[in-house]
Symmetry: C2
Subunit: 403 residues, 2 copies
């Protein structure tokens, strides 16, 4: 997965744990009625709201009415709409976390990583071929890939499904998602042929979700603020791109598609990423709050709670993840993915229907090219919703066992 | 153009003129070297920076670190990522200015109006046709239309060029830009056949550019913050859409393309639009600053200066615009478009080359489906650049006359 033997300098996180439970209570302020529908279909990362609430004014973003009026951010940069402050903080954060090599890469900013996926497909597709290039990813793949690839019926690229079944003797683009959405597994490319180009989607390769085992180093690597800091509403993603021409074409896509990317979101993201890097580095200070340490604890707690519920019966099962040494935390940890990939073992053919009957919206395994016995459940909702989810999960098990 | 006989209540602007020249000086703070290349190719609306600088803290946007984290803005709204505050201010501004009917329309927010153009094409294209639907616009058309339509070689829609030459007996989408980019002329549809659907691009239908002769009322109308307030870096546009299903499909496009639109930009735009509406309504107060009055004066001054230079020789010509009664200002005014559509009358076959030789970047008439004797020149740059442009325009004329 790492694509290089070189391992960067390990920057250790602070030793002062964040008071996760306390701040979580602050965040869980909505009053859900006991029979409310809980939407765990999307990976809306509101779990992190509590952390940002706790951080207070440190993270407040202020912009005067006359600032950032122009379309342009830096005319000298290949990605002319990328705010220099954001570029600086992206590079800094990767150095601090040690999860990706950035020094040999151009940065292209996008309106979330969805736009960057399309930009990458545009950049990697041969412009003059009669047939569109095949786009593949191994099952279970991120459910948006087929839709994002095919919604405009592009003559440049076309969704070709499961990478493991791809046997066409032709050029292809493989999406490699690591950790994988929906199942949290670290991934390698599977087609492995000369005619292929790879897009590495590293949206979830951050310490709160998975051990950082090496700084990754590939030709095109996608990241997003949504899953890193939780600021999904900002719609900021970035691509680390080795080849200058590919970076230029990706920039061109974004120029035609949206003439750049919100300056306000970029500048606020720069501030937020800066606060995270500061928090990671200032260990020893009693006020220091390491975002990843706090968030990892939160995710670990949730996973533990869910595993405790699930193991009480034989109705559901969850993936197991290996303990691995995390270069960032300096500890052996297992993954605590942003999604639970739940299998209904016995009682139901259609797991999504089962959950829906109990007012829990999930995403069916079918959407990921997989089996309807699976569902993807977001682990990133607010505390109150997560707790209600656990209660209902428990209730489903009791009913199923009673049957 | 107005599509309705009904004329809304006329809201008059304030009577206190903004001190345009004074604030312009504040804005023109960059030091251009005398031989600098001036880029008037893009319509980068930095001319309005001076106004926003003058407005000071009234327009400062502040957002705490924990706010607007979610993907969602309003789950009950058809356009689920549209911030309610922005919707409110968009409706209010149209009521205050009287330039568009909004009460029967859904609002879809986009990452600039470029994204909304694509969303409209997606929504209006029949999904199951073998042949892509034709997209047309009358020459000279906005130079981005062909590129935006064709860059992904979509099987849904295809650029078919000049609407005036469109003779295919088949469904089509006509882009109607009013006032038109590049030439500032108010436009009506030209194909006028039953199989057509229309997208009205009203990016420039604001009082600083053109007299507001009626509140427009069409099925799909596009507007953008960039050209209204000058905040191009925010990438905020909106569509007013009558048909619910079309609005839903446009929302779907934006969902797939970028999973919504920057919350920061939306909330800041809401603030800025609110300040503009306040300024238009509070006439009589000595501190009131009517944005459109200020900006109209600025644009009128620039056009007057340019016309004064151009008329000194026979080298160039400019379009003339009729005096019309503006419902907003309550005065007879002519248009002062965001772009000058300049014709080189004698000296040059290729007007863009002529300007380039004098270090002025413009956009060739060819890009608009028109003649290379024309260029489009942005009137929206900063004061210093505009003044340098006038000097060079004058110099070109002297050289040409000397030949």
């Amino acid at each position: 997965m790492c694509g290089t033997e070189k391992v960067g300098v390990i920057k250790r996180s602070g030793s002062h744990a964040a008071h996760a439970s306390e701040a979580r209570e602050n965040g869980a302020r909505r009053n859900l009625s006991p029979d409310a529908v809980i939407n765990l279909d999307h990976g809306d990362p509101t779990v992190f709201e509590s952390y940002w609430r706790k951080m207070g004014d440190n993270c407040t973003f202020i912009i005067a009415g006359y600032q950032s009026i122009s379309y342009f951010a830096d005319m000298k940069n290949l990605c002319w709409f990328l705010e220099p402050k954001l570029e600086e903080q992206i590079r800094r954060l990767h150095h601090v976390v040690g999860n990706a090599e950035v020094d040999d890469h151009h940065i292209v900013v996008g309106t979330g990583s969805s736009q960057l996926i399309q930009a990458a497909l545009y950049a990697l597709s041969p412009p003059d071929e009669r047939e569109p290039i095949s786009v593949v990813s191994a099952v279970p793949y991120y459910s948006s890939y087929p839709e994002v690839t095919d919604f405009l019926r592009s003559g440049l690229y076309k969704w070709a499904g499961d990478a493991q079944r791809f046997d066409k003797d032709a050029a292809y683009i493989e999406m490699v998602t690591a950790p994988n959405n929906p199942d949290g597994v670290m991934r390698e490319p599977v087609v492995n042929r000369d005619q292929g180009t790879l897009v590495h989607d590293f949206a979830y390769y951050w310490p709160h979700y998975t051990p950082i085992t090496c700084p990754v180093n590939h030709d095109i690597m996608l990241f997003t603020v949504s899953k890193c800091t939780g600021h999904a509403g900002s719609r900021i993603g970035w691509a680390l791109v080795k080849d200058k021409e590919v970076a230029r074409k990706m920039t061109k896509f974004i120029e035609i598609n949206t003439i750049g990317v919100s300056k306000e979101s970029q500048l606020r993201a720069a501030k937020i990423l800066g606060v995270i890097s500061d928090g990671c580095l200032h260990f020893g200070s009693p006020d220091a709050d390491n975002f990843f340490e706090y968030s990892q604890r939160l995710m670990a707690e949730r996973w533990q709670q869910m595993r405790d519920v699930v193991k009480r019966s034989e109705v559901f099962s969850l993936p197991e993840y290996p303990f691995q040494y995390c270069l960032f935390t300096g500890e052996f940890t297992e993954a605590h993915p942003a999604f639970a990939w739940i299998k209904c073992k016995e009682t139901a053919e259609d797991c999504e229907e089962l959950f829906r009957a109990h007012k829990i919206l999930t995403r069916s395994g079918k959407r990921f090219g997989s089996d309807p016995k699976y569902v993807r459940v977001s682990m990133l909702n607010r505390e109150e919703e997560f707790n209600l989810f656990l209660e209902r999960l428990s209730a489903i098990q009791e009913i199923s066992n009673g049957n």
